[in-house]
């Protein structure tokens, strides 16, 4: 039975506890009262300064940004509550009675998540309220309501994102100290996100910020799901101290990657050969026994070839199967990103006629260079392959080590860029559909395959991370690299011909 009241019970106890802890209360009160005041002063001076030069627009766009900042800082401080949600209880020894109680995992997890969210959000909103009151008090005009609502919503989304990540860290850490050290993995990406959002605010493209709200909300939902899936009572009590056992890490990774405990036959053959060589130089009584199960080279190679085929058949496909939900979800988000970027660029870019002539000529020259396979475009198969391998590796690394969040951002940026570029081809009088069909689809279908199987959602820290990394690498090596190679060859050698056939009549290929 879904008993939400039990989750709320956990949250309520935690909230009461926090309200009685002056070490949590004091910094929050100071930040809530002092920081908005500081921002009010900053707003006043900045507005006075920029108004001297008639830059009212900057002042107008600064105010919602400062709301975002006022909301962000108290959240970072009170994040400590979420960071120690589980690991703090574990350190204080209060977790076991809770774990031994009939509370279900999700009661505990959601309860902690609620407690971790309510405090920062309340503090953040009080801070924003004080800041807004300060603006009113100083006679500074408030930003438009839609900006205020947008900023408040963004604050909620970011708070939930940060708290969700902090709770995941708390369930996986073995000490509060370790959790606090890992907090930078939460604060820094969100600070970067806010920088991006502030750029959009100053740029005046506030509509895009709603997409940021949606994106951040999706990431929060993914993090919450990830946290819930990997929340194991057993793990909370099982790990006592942080130990980095590199031999264990390597052994676990090797087993997960190869699917076997046995070393490769070729390795055994080489080891045996090495021992034979060493034995020649040592006295007979000190000689190590040679590996008696070593095979002749041909047999070893034959065995390894069979092992490799088994690995492909069993390990790679089982990894693909295991990640299919993540793969399809990621792909769905990518297509959504592509479509949204296309629609946004299509709706917001000026009409072709409004494009400065020189810019249009420059764009056309670049397209012509690709189609006409002119030198200097740098679009060789090798370059494309290497470029894409790097991009995939970056996405995978970012995905595995940030619970999928950073990987997903890069992935969405990739798809959105394709969507945006397709819409922009209209500027030079081309049909986006034609460009897509002729210029992207032939090799893109292979990239699509790569994107489709590049698993971006790392699962959790520790053992799961090793397994995920092994799965990711299996798929990357066995599926992505061959596809990327093929796609690079097609893109460099075939796509220009198809484009020429499709668009040659539209674009004058003569420089």
């Amino acid at each position: 039975m879904k008993r939400f009241d039990l989750a709320w019970l956990v949250a309520k106890r935690e909230l009461v506890d926090q309200m009685r802890d002056w070490r949590i209360l004091l910094p929050m009160i100071i930040l809530t009262l002092f920081f908005p005041y500081l921002m009010n002063v900053a707003a006043r001076y900045t507005i006075d300064y920029v108004n001297q030069f008639g830059a009212d627009l900057i002042a107008e766009r600064l105010l919602p940004f400062l709301i975002l900042v006022v909301g962000f800082f108290p959240v970072t401080v009170s994040l400590v509550v979420a960071l120690e949600a589980f690991v703090g209880e574990k350190e204080r020894g209060t977790i076991e009675p809770l774990l031994s109680s009939p509370l279900e995992d999700w009661h505990l997890y959601i309860g902690k998540l609620l407690a971790g969210t309510i405090v920062p959000l309340t503090v953040s909103y009080i801070g924003i309220g004080i800041y807004m009151f300060g603006l009113y008090w100083q006679g500074i005009k408030w930003p438009a309501w839609n900006f205020i609502i947008q900023t408040l919503t963004l604050t909620v989304a970011q708070t939930v994102l940060m708290v969700s990540a902090a709770i995941v860290i708390s369930t996986q850490s073995t000490s509060v100290r370790a959790a606090n050290l890992l907090a930078s993995f939460v604060v820094i990406p969100v600070a970067l996100l806010i920088q991006g959002e502030s750029a959009l605010m100053f740029w005046g493209t506030n509509q895009v910020l709603w997409w940021a709200v949606l994106g951040v909300s999706i990431m929060s939902a993914l993090l919450i799901r990830l946290g819930l899936v990997h929340f194991k009572r057993e793990n909370l009590l099982g790990r006592e101290i942080d130990m980095l056992n590199l031999a264990w890490v390597w052994g676990t990774f090797r087993r997960a990657f190869t699917g076997s405990d046995e070393p490769a036959a070729l390795t055994r053959y080489l080891r045996s050969g090495w021992k034979k060589i060493r034995n020649r130089t040592v006295p007979i009584e000190n000689r190590q026994s040679e590996i008696d199960n070593a095979l002749p080279l041909r047999a070893a190679l034959w065995l390894d070839l069979n092992g490799f085929l088994r690995w492909y058949r069993v390990e790679v496909f089982s990894a693909l199967r295991g990640m299919r939900t993540a793969i399809w979800l990621t792909f769905g988000l990518g297509v959504l990103g592509l479509a949204l970027a296309y629609l946004y660029v299509d709706a917001n870019l000026p009409a072709t006629t409004a494009l400065p002539e020189e810019t249009a000529r420059e764009a056309m020259r670049a397209i012509r260079a690709v189609i006409a396979r002119e030198g200097g475009t740098g679009l060789s198969a090798g370059m494309l392959f290497w470029h894409n391998v790097r991009a995939e590796l970056l996405m995978m690394a970012a995905g595995v080590f940030s619970f999928g969040v950073l990987g997903l951002i890069l992935f969405l940026a990739n798809f959105s860029l394709v969507g945006g570029v397709l819409a922009a081809t209209k500027l030079v009088g081309l049909s986006p559909l034609m460009v897509f069909l002729a210029g992207i689809l032939p090799h893109g279908i292979l990239y699509l395959g790569v994107r489709l199987v590049t698993p971006l959602e790392g699962k959790s820290i520790g053992e799961t991370m090793i397994f995920t990394l092994a799965d990711v690498l299996k798929i990357f090596i066995a599926v992505c690299v061959p596809l990327l190679l093929l796609a690079g060859l097609l893109e460099a050698n075939l796509t220009p011909y198809i484009l020429e056939a499709a668009l040659g009549r539209i674009i004058d290929l003569q420089p």
Binding site: D17, E96, P97, P102, E104
Partner: protein, 309 residues
């Protein structure tokens, strides 16, 4: 009722518990003894469905620990190694919180909390935050938490540690009362005198395996052999003239007494005393040599060191 068979828990390559089998019927107390890290806490954690067994099975209050973890946890009262109190909550708030966790009605929660605080002598401090409590008070409050929902099964880790003698006696009385009300109880303890007083069955765990288990009498018999008695006489006696009944043998002789071992004291001891009287020996006292649980435990450990077990 607690039953488990071949209960095993491995953490990677570390074998924390290996093939543990026992049964604790309603109205029985099992004392789990063993060194630190022997596997007692891991066993208890498996019985509360906090850890999943690597192998084997366990049923607590009729529920399988792997299949029905929620029901298992609702039927168990656990006193953990660490008190697990929230220092900023008052005793009353703390018990009320766990009362809600165990789904007790508000009136029942209040009644149980008052009752337990009164019983453990904490009523005067009910509105004080538990962070201000002494160690013994914390232990009593933690025990009250374990009992708040009147569970049919109790798993108590060091129930009287850090308690003054009066409080410890109070807790022992409570455990005895709970046993008589047909609860199945497991206590993990290093206090062997307490285990001897409370336990119907004893299991000694070493490196995750049960070395030996049974009633105190069975353990005595297995580890130290038949019962031993010490006879004190007012005068001398002649061991060479003495006829030992079947199942009895002399262990140690002195001028004014002797020590003997006997398989069936009920039959043999009256014969021995009759002989002494017949030979005009003045019997001052006949008493069984104390064979405490501590002696049994140390013997078991010595056997491990010698490689006997």
């Amino acid at each position: 009722m607690i039953e488990c068979e071949d209960l095993t828990k491995h953490f990677d390559t570390f074998k924390a518990v290996e093939g543990v089998t026992f049964e604790v019927r309603p109205g029985q107390v099992l004392a789990l003894l063993g060194q630190n890290g022997a596997g007692k806490t891991t066993t208890v954690r498996m019985l509360t469905s906090v850890l999943t067994p690597t192998r084997g099975w366990a049923r607590v209050a009729g529920y399988d620990v792997a299949q029905h973890p929620g029901d298992v946890r609702a039927s168990v009262g656990v006193l953990t190694e660490m008190h697990g109190l929230y220092g900023r909550m008052t005793a009353h708030e703390y018990l009320d919180f766990f009362g809600q966790v165990y789904d007790l009605a508000p009136a029942r929660r209040k009644q149980r909390a008052d009752q337990l605080l009164e019983y453990f002598g904490l009523a005067h401090a009910a509105q004080r935050r538990s962070g201000e409590y002494s160690k013994g008070m914390r232990q009593k409050l933690a025990l009250a938490r374990a009992l708040i929902h009147e569970p049919p099964v109790l798993l108590l880790d060091e129930p009287t540690s850090a308690m003054d003698p009066e409080s410890a006696q109070l807790v022992r009385h409570e455990i005895a009362r709970l046993r008589s009300s047909q609860r199945s109880i497991i206590i993990c303890t290093h206090n062997l005198a307490e285990a001897e007083m409370l336990a119907d069955q004893i299991a000694i765990i070493y490196h995750g395996r049960i070395l030996i288990q049974g009633t105190l009498e069975e353990l005595r018999r297995q580890l130290l052999g038949p019962a031993e008695y010490e006879v004190t006489l007012s005068g001398g006696w002649r061991p060479d003239e003495f006829q030992w009944p079947a199942g009895a043998r002399l262990l140690h002789a002195e001028e004014c007494g002797f020590r003997f071992q006997v398989e069936n004291p009920e039959a043999a001891n009256p014969l021995i005393i009759q002989q002494l009287i017949k030979k005009n020996s003045q019997v001052v006292s006949v008493q069984e040599t104390p064979r405490t649980l501590e002696m049994l435990y140390l013997k078991a450990m010595a056997q491990v060191a010698e490689g006997v077990r």
